[in-house]
C-alpha cells in the first residue's frame, strides 16, 4: 500500500509520514497559540471584574465625580446603554425587515439600490457611521445627545438585521411557498401568515445578533452621544454608555479605582453580549431540531 501511495503522491513513505506528523503538530500549536491570548483575555477580565459585579451598588450607583475616588457604580452607563440600544432596536428592526422583505419579494431597481447601500454599511467601519451621524444630526441639533447615539447604533444594527432576515426568507422551503400560492393567498397574506411565522425564530436570532453588535460599540458613540459622567435618563442630553465608560476608565487606568470599574463594566458587557449570542443560537438550534423548516 505504502509504495502505491508513494507513486501517486510522489514521495517516499518516511518523508510523507514525517510531513503528516509535522502537519498535525503545527495545527495543534496554532490552536494553542490562538487559545492562549483568548483565554488570557477572559481570565483576566473575569478575575479583575467579578469583584465589582458581586456588589449591588455597582448597578445602583453612579460613578463618583472624582475618577480616583472609591465606591460608586455604573448606573448612568447601564441606563444610557439600555435606552440607546433599545431605541436603536425600535428603529432598525422594522426598517431592516421592510428592506429585506421588499428586496426578496418585489425586487427591482429601488431594492437593488437599497441592498447596495446595506452592503456598503455592512462593511463600513463603525467610526465612519459616527461621522455620518455627527455631520447630519449633531451639527444640525447643535449638541451631542443620546438620540444621536441611538441613531448611530441603529445604522450599525441595520445591515445585521436585514442580511439575516433576507437569508431566512430565502430559506423558506419551496413546497410551503408554493402551497401558499396555490391556496390563492395574496403576497402580503403569505408574507405575514406563512413566511414570517416560519422564519420568526431566525429573524429574532438576527435581531439579537444585531443588538449584541450594537451594545458593545464604542466608536460610533464617541462623537454622537459623547458620554456623560452624571446620570441622565434624557435622550436629548449627552449620555453615558458601558463601552464609553470602559474606554474612559481604561485611559485613566493608572488609578486603581478607575481600573476596577473598567474591568467590572467590561465583564458585565461581555456577559450581556454572550447571553444575547447564546440565546440567539439556542433559538436557531431549536428550530433545526423541530424540523419544521430546513
Amino acid at each position: 500500500m505504502a509504495s502505491d501511495a508513494s507513486v501517486v503522491f510522489g514521495q517516499t513513505s518516511l518523508d510523507r509520514r514525517f510531513k503528516e506528523r509535522l502537519f498535525v503538530a503545527l495545527a495543534v500549536v496554532a490552536l494553542v497559540l490562538a487559545l492562549i491570548p483568548l483565554a488570557a483575555v477572559f481570565g483576566y477580565i473575569f478575575v479583575n471584574g467579578i469583584g465589582s459585579l458581586l456588589s449591588i451598588d455597582f448597578f445602583l450607583k453612579d460613578p463618583p465625580a472624582d475618577l480616583t475616588a472609591a465606591g460608586g457604580g455604573v448606573r448612568n452607563a447601564l441606563v444610557g446603554t439600555f435606552e440607546m440600544t433599545g431605541l436603536a432596536t425600535i428603529i432598525a428592526v422594522p426598517v431592516g425587515l421592510a428592506v429585506a422583505v421588499f428586496a426578496i419579494e418585489f425586487g427591482g431597481g429601488l431594492a437593488r439600490a437599497a441592498r447596495f447601500l446595506i452592503d456598503v454599511l455592512n462593511g463600513l467601519p463603525s467610526i465612519v457611521v459616527g461621522i455620518f451621524v455627527y455631520a447630519s444630526v449633531v451639527v444640525t441639533q447643535g449638541h451631542f445627545s443620546g438620540l444621536a447615539g441611538a441613531l448611530a447604533l441603529a445604522i450599525v444594527m441595520l445591515p445585521v438585521v436585514t442580511v439575516s432576515a433576507e437569508e431566512i426568507l430565502r430559506l423558506t422551503p419551496h413546497p410551503i411557498a408554493e402551497g401558499a400560492r396555490a391556496l390563492g393567498l395574496s403576497r402580503w397574506r403569505s408574507i405575514l401568515s406563512v413566511f414570517m411565522p416560519i422564519g420568526l425564530s431566525g429573524i429574532v436570532t438576527g435581531v439579537l445578533l444585531g443588538i449584541s453588535r450594537a451594545i458593545g460599540e464604542t466608536a460610533p458613540l464617541l462623537f454622537t452621544t459623547l458620554g456623560n459622567n452624571f446620570f441622565t435618563p434624557d435622550l436629548n442630553q449627552p449620555m453615558q454608555a458601558l463601552p464609553l465608560l470602559i474606554y474612559r476608565d481604561a485611559l485613566n487606568s493608572a488609578y486603581q479605582t478607575a481600573r476596577d470599574r473598567a474591568f467590572g463594566a467590561a465583564l458585565l458587557l461581555v456577559l450581556i453580549v454572550f447571553g444575547l449570542n447564546l440565546l440567539g443560537r439556542w433559538l436557531t438550534t431549536r428550530r433545526r431540531l423541530a424540523g419544521s423548516s430546513r
Partner: protein, 327 residues
C-alpha cells in the same frame, strides 16, 4: 407542513370576487409601504454620506485629493493636513495582523475539518461566535493593561539584536506601537478568518477526500491535494474579510498604538491608524480645518473599506457564480 395546514383552516376558500379585490389592495398597500420605507432609508443614508463628503470638501480643495492622501505631515496648529501617516499605519497594522492571523487560522480550520473528531466541531463553532462578538473596547482594555507591558521586553530584545541590522525592527520601543496594534488585530480577526475558512474547507467534496485516503494518502495529503486547492478562493475571501475588519477597527487599536502623528521608521514605533486618529482627536479638534480634515480621513477610510469589501464580494461571486448570499 404544519404551517400550511394552519393557514388553510383559518382562511377557508374565499369567493373569487372579494378575494381579488382584497388581494390587489393588500398587495399594493404592502408594496407601497415597503417601497416608501426602503426609499426613505436609502435617501437618509445617501444624504448622510454626501453630507460627510461635503463637510470634508474644504480640505480637499485646499490640498487637492492627491495632495491630502499623499501628504506626510499632519500638523493641526500649522493648518497642515496630510493623510499618509495614518494610511501607512492602517495598512501596516492590518498587514501585521494578517501575517500573524492567516497561518494560524488556516491551520486551526484544517485541524477542525481534517483531524479533530466531529464532536469537537459544535463547541468550536459556539466558541468562535462568542469570541467574534466580544466588544473591541474589551480587547483594548486588556491590550492596554496586559499586552503592551508584556510585549515591551520582547520588542526591546528584538530591536537590540535584529534592530541594529534592520532599522524597520529597531528602536524606539515604548511598548505601544504598530506591532502591538497588529497583535491585538490578529487576536480579534482569528475567530472570523478561521470560522469562514473552516466552513469553506468543510464544504469540499467528501468523495475526493476519501479517494485520497483510499489511495493510501495521509491526512496532510488530503489537505494538500484536495482541501487547500479547492478552498483557495474561499480562503482568499476569508482573508479579505479579515482585512476589512482590521482596516476599520477603531477602539482597540486606539488604545494600544501609542498615538503619534509621525510615520514611525520601526514597527515598534508608536503611530496612528485612520480610524484611531479620528477617535482620538475629533472631540478636541479646535484648530482651523481640523474637524474637516478628520472627516476627510473618514472619507478615505470609507473608500478604503468599500474597495476591500468590493474585492471580497468579487472573489466570492467569481468562484460561486454569485449564487451564495454571503457569509
Amino acid at each position: 407542513m404544519f404551517q400550511t395546514k394552519r393557514v388553510t383552516s383559518r382562511e377557508g376558500a374565499p369567493s373569487l370576487g372579494s378575494f381579488h379585490r382584497r388581494r390587489w389592495t393588500g398587495d399594493l398597500t404592502l408594496r407601497a409601504g415597503l417601497a416608501i420605507v426602503t426609499l426613505g432609508i436609502s435617501v437618509v443614508l445617501a444624504i448622510m454620506m454626501v453630507e460627510s463628503f461635503a463637510d470634508a470638501s474644504p480640505v480637499y480643495e485646499k490640498f487637492g485629493i492627491l495632495g491630502f492622501v499623499t501628504g506626510t505631515k499632519w500638523a493641526p496648529s500649522f493648518t497642515i493636513y496630510g493623510a499618509w501617516p495614518f494610511i501607512y499605519g492602517t495598512l501596516l497594522t492590518s498587514l501585521i495582523g494578517l501575517v500573524i492571523a492567516v497561518p494560524i487560522s488556516v491551520l486551526i480550520a484544517l485541524l477542525l475539518t481534517e483531524l479533530a473528531p466531529a464532536r469537537l466541531r459544535a463547541p468550536f463553532g459556539i466558541a468562535v461566535d462568542l469570541l467574534a462578538a466580544v466588544p473591541s473596547v474589551v480587547y483594548g482594555l486588556w491590550g492596554l493593561i496586559v499586552l503592551v507591558p508584556a510585549m515591551r521586553p520582547f520588542e526591546q530584545g528584538v530591536s537590540a539584536t535584529l534592530g541594529s541590522v534592520v532599522p524597520f525592527l529597531g528602536p524606539p520601543t515604548p511598548g505601544a506601537s504598530y506591532f502591538a496594534a497588529g497583535v491585538i488585530l490578529a487576536i480579534m480577526i482569528i475567530p472570523i478568518i478561521s470560522a469562514v475558512t473552516r466552513e469553506v474547507f468543510a464544504s469540499t467534496p467528501r468523495l475526493q477526500r476519501e479517494a485520497v485516503l483510499a489511495l493510501g494518502g495521509t491526512r496532510w495529503d488530503v489537505a494538500r491535494t484536495v482541501t487547500l486547492p479547492i478552498g483557495r478562493a474561499g480562503l482568499l475571501a476569508a482573508v479579505v474579510l479579515g482585512l476589512g475588519r482590521a482596516v476599520g477597527e477603531t477602539i482597540a487599536v486606539t488604545m494600544v498604538i501609542g498615538n503619534s502623528n509621525n510615520i514611525g521608521t520601526s514597527i515598534f514605533a508608536p503611530g496612528f491608524t485612520l480610524a484611531s486618529v479620528i477617535a482620538n482627536e475629533f472631540n478636541e479638534a479646535t484648530e482651523t480645518l481640523h474637524p474637516e480634515a478628520l472627516i476627510a480621513l473618514g472619507t478615505v477610510l470609507l473608500v478604503l473599506s468599500v474597495i476591500v469589501n468590493a474585492v471580497a464580494v468579487a472573489i466570492r461571486n467569481r468562484f460561486t457564480g454569485g449564487a451564495r448570499s454571503g457569509f
